[in-house]
């Protein structure tokens, strides 16, 4: 090792130490905990080493429910929010007047606090002794009976959670896609126009490939974000998510650590590792699939 590279390492040292302490060490530690049976924080002791934690959580109905909820949330919200954001961005891109205004309006939810938004959703959807909520009021105009979205059937609760999640992630996606669309050179559209290209073909053969890197970025971060969902569910259904049947994987991890039934770091670690493996797998699949279809400008 030359003098130069020694100097280089020296410069890197603070960053490496920082990342090591706060990123790598906890990761490894969680991995280790997940194989230690009945680990106890206070006494720093454990009963044995093995896969017991995994077999426990995989048989825990709360965990299975959390996995089911998370997967439904991911599978519905990622395509819906990305598709919706694309449609809105295309519309924004095609108007001249008031574009700035609409862009601002669409971006507002992004700078709004999650819990505040949750409160608004509660007002819209929750039934109280005094009112059925705003959405039920509208439903009644069409002759549909009142539905309890917060405390009622699973499908109704899932619907609200998905709607809420889509609404929360939409602005960021619109922001990314409108700037991606705006950066596609007008020359390509002029060339396509002169060659009498039908609008849908322009979209499929020019627009979509040109913005495909942004779409892939949004899908991957969307998957990761949705898998890590937690605060959205809390905002809507309160902290006792297991009881509401609306827990997510991250929610389960949290409950295992600190919840009313908490104090089980081993189970929490195992659940966290399961989540990690799921997210890693999905991301790798995403990257492999996209590599074939994405055009990166080099």
């Amino acid at each position: 090792m030359g003098k130069r590279s020694a100097k280089g390492w020296l410069y890197l040292l603070p960053a490496i130490l920082f990342l090591g302490f706060f990123l790598v060490y906890p990761l490894v530690d969680v991995f280790v905990y997940s194989f230690e049976e009945s680990y106890n924080f206070a006494s720093q002791t454990y009963a044995g080493v093995g896969t017991f934690n995994y077999s426990y959580i995989l048989r825990d109905p709360y965990f299975l429910q959390a996995i089911k909820n998370t997967f439904i949330l991911v599978i519905i919200t990622v395509p819906v929010s990305t598709g919706l954001a694309l449609v809105i961005s295309l519309a924004l891109n095609s108007i001249e007047r008031l574009r700035r205004l609409f862009q601002t309006v669409y971006f507002l939810p992004y700078v709004t606090n999650t819990l505040a938004v949750g409160l608004v959703f509660m007002i819209l959807f929750q039934r109280t002794p005094y009112t059925d909520g705003f959405v039920n009021l509208m439903l009644s105009w069409f002759g549909a009976g009142p539905v309890d979205f917060i405390d009622g059937p699973y499908a109704a609760k899932m619907f609200v959670l998905c709607l809420y999640t889509v609404w929360i992630v939409l602005p960021f996606k619109i922001l990314i896609l409108t700037s991606a669309l705006a950066s596609v050179s007008k020359d390509y559209y002029n060339a396509a126009r002169i060659d009498n290209t039908p609008p849908f073909r322009v979209f499929r053969k020019i627009t979509l490939p040109m913005i495909s890197p942004s779409i892939v970025y949004l899908v991957i971060t969307g998957f990761i974000g949705a898998f890590k969902a937690y605060s959205d569910a809390v905002a809507l259904f309160g902290t006792n998510l297991n009881a509401a049947g609306m827990n997510t994987i991250v929610g389960y991890v949290y409950d295992m650590l600190y919840g009313s039934s908490g104090g089980y770091p081993s189970y929490a670690s195992a659940a966290a590792i399961v989540l990690f493996v799921i997210v890693l797998t999905i991301t790798v699949i995403n990257l492999l699939v996209s590599r074939k279809h994405v055009h990166y400008n080099s």
Binding site: D187, R193, I194, D195, N196, T197, R201, K205, P209, M210
Partner: protein, 369 residues
């Protein structure tokens, strides 16, 4: 396809609420292009060349005036239906598609009874590729091609659909000098082979002169002169055209017409048939100044410059608009140069007289243009 442009005007309104100046990018432009002709649209940057081209292809709508393809009035026809081929200044090749996919793109848009079979598309794509000699590069992406190759792909894409007319916006401006020479010959060859009426925009007078059947010289949105390159060179309609064509540039002198003679400084250099007395600008092409012991125009000698086969005699004159007066001569005339002054004979047909105020040509020699 014959193209007629009548009284075409394009005005870009001033921006914003402030009452600024409207931009007249094209003002009452009229010209006719014969079937199969290659027309060079020539002028300095910002004179409205691209604007004219975009009006022809329909990407811009004129403020006034009409455009005809043959007998058909296409002024209100959208760009999609004009059936023109266009080579953009930066080529605008689709970067994610291969060369082959780029070239066949326009063919795949054909609908109804023009719709082509798969084999037909393949055949015509191959033909176009062979015409521009890129048939060996069909599977590459545009980023993997040189500038000249990209340009040929752009031409193939514009030609493949057999356009009624072909428009090229400074297609050679991104190429280096040698490739530019080579490619302009290529464009000439392809245009001859296909016989497609072509408008070629450039700000390079050499380029326009060398490949065009006729050139249109523009300045600030207005057509100054239309004609065969040699005719325009030999008989410029005004001072701007005289200065814009020719390399090295024409020599210009402040002069005056007195009693049927043209004077520069104290020297009487030309007869002034029928030009009224007054201030004029005299333009003399460098090859029109011939050193001679008893020549009409006397200048102070500055030096001699040898560039390849050309020999330039550099001189100064108080009435000259430029700092240097340049004469291009053959080697044998050089020997007789000596001393502080040099006298030049003025070759007839290489000297023009322009009005000092309007720049319009005054001597009667100019052909119709």
């Amino acid at each position: 396809m014959k193209v007629s442009v009548r009284d075409l005007t394009k005005i870009f309104p001033a921006r914003g609420r402030k009452k600024g100046e409207d931009v007249v990018a094209a003002g009452h432009v009229s010209f006719e292009i014969e079937d199969g002709e290659l027309i060079g649209l020539l002028g300095p940057s910002g004179c409205g060349k691209s604007t004219i081209l975009n009006l022809l292809c329909g990407l811009l709508q004129p403020t006034e005036g009409r455009i005809f393809f043959g007998e058909e009035d296409v002024t209100d026809l959208p760009a999609e239906q004009r059936g023109v081929g266009m080579v953009f200044q930066n080529y605008a090749l689709y970067p994610h598609l291969t060369v082959m996919q780029n070239i066949m793109f326009p063919l795949q848009n054909f609908k109804g009874d023009r719709k082509l079979s798969r084999e037909e598309i393949k055949k015509r794509t191959d033909e176009a590729a062979r015409l521009v000699q890129i048939d060996g590069l069909m599977d590459r992406k545009p980023a993997e091609l040189s500038g000249g190759q990209q340009q040929r792909v752009a031409i193939a894409r514009a030609l493949v659909k057999m356009p009624r007319i072909l428009l090229m916006d400074e297609p050679l401006s991104n190429l280096d000098a040698r490739l530019r020479l080579q490619t302009r010959e290529e464009i000439r060859r392809i245009q001859r082979e296909t016989g497609i009426t072509t408008v070629f925009v450039t700000h390079d007078q050499d380029e326009a002169m060398s490949i065009s059947d006729r050139i249109i010289v523009m300045q600030s949105g207005v057509v100054n002169q239309i004609g065969k390159p040699q005719e325009v060179y030999d008989s410029p309609a005004n001072l701007f055209v005289a200065k814009f064509l020719g390399n090295p540039q024409i020599n210009t002198f402040r002069g005056a017409v007195r009693g049927g003679e043209v004077y520069v400084g104290g020297d009487c250099i030309l007869p002034a048939d029928g030009i009224p007395d007054g201030e004029v600008i005299v333009g003399v092409r460098p090859e029109g100044l011939i050193p001679a012991p008893d020549g009409a125009l006397g200048c102070r000698l500055r030096g001699v410059e040898v560039m390849g086969r050309d020999i330039s005699v550099l001189a100064e004159h108080d009435a000259s608009e430029a700092a240097t007066v340049r004469s291009i001569v053959s080697a044998e005339n050089i020997a007789m140069l000596g001393g502080g002054t040099v006298r030049f004979d003025i070759k007839p047909g290489k000297a023009f007289v322009f009005a000092a105020d309007t720049g319009l040509r005054l001597d009667g020699r100019r052909a119709d243009g």
